[in-house]
């Protein structure tokens, strides 16, 4: 993540003390040195509520992940119920795609990876996408 120049923040309703202990007792054993990004404490789920991920019944923030660009606009969000874990490869793919879009103004078609063709949006492209991009590229 650092190599892409991305700041990452983890947030749960747990206190900062709980974060400290979790980092020290479990995370540092799963990952060398523990997780390197700040772990924020959203007591009462107030920030989770504003982001639409606070589950009042359970009293926790559910699994929501938001990508924010340098202009402070939300570009992407993925919210899942807690049973299924995230796929970090998809997040990295999205970050690279949005960074490319932010820098160049081109758009990235489905399943885009760095190196694959992009599209330059404009009136000429309407009806001509088939010349530049093939659906087989998706697989």
């Amino acid at each position: 993540m650092q190599s892409l120049g991305v700041e990452v923040f983890a947030i749960s309703v747990d206190s900062r003390f709980s974060h400290k202990i979790w980092q020290e007792t479990e995370l540092s054993k799963m990952v060398e040195g523990g997780v390197p990004f700040p772990m924020l404490s959203d007591a009462g789920g107030k920030v989770g509520t504003v982001y639409g991920v606070y589950d009042e019944a359970g009293g926790v923030d559910i699994r929501g992940r938001f990508l924010i660009d340098p202009d402070f606009n939300i570009r992407a969000m993925e919210v899942m119920t807690p049973e299924v874990g995230r796929n970090v490869n998809e997040l990295i793919r999205q970050i690279k795609a949005f960074q490319h879009v932010f820098a160049t103004g081109e758009v990235t078609p489905a399943a885009w990876e760095p190196g694959k063709p992009t599209l330059k949006p404009g009136p000429d492209l309407a009806g001509n996408v088939w010349k530049e991009w093939k659906p087989e590229e998706q697989v």
């Binding site: 120049g5 747990d14 700040p38 504003v50 939300i74 570009r75």
Partner: protein
């Protein structure tokens, strides 16, 4: 950023929102805060929360990181399974 005294409770604001002055005192303001404001293509709601990072505690304000790409990851709880 100045070091805070290590007490049991560190005040941190939570969500930072623009609530018009006329509404602040009224019950309507409470309801504004509990609306979902985060939308794709819209500015991210700002906030300030206390955090654990690199062995210590500090307050983190999201807008301090404006100008960088940011990923905010909510998760249900420490010590959970997935």
């Amino acid at each position: 950023m100045s070091e805070q005294a290590e007490g049991c409770v560190t005040p941190s604001t939570g969500p930072i929102l623009d609530i018009p002055e006329t509404l602040e005192a009224s019950p309507v303001a409470e309801k504004e805060v509990s609306m979902t404001l985060a939308r794709v293509g819209e500015p991210a709601p700002d906030f300030e929360l206390s955090a654990f990072h690199e062995g210590g505690f500090k307050n983190v304000k999201l807008s301090d990181y404006k100008g960088k790409w940011i990923v905010v990851c909510f998760y249900p709880g420490d010590f959970t399974f997935v």
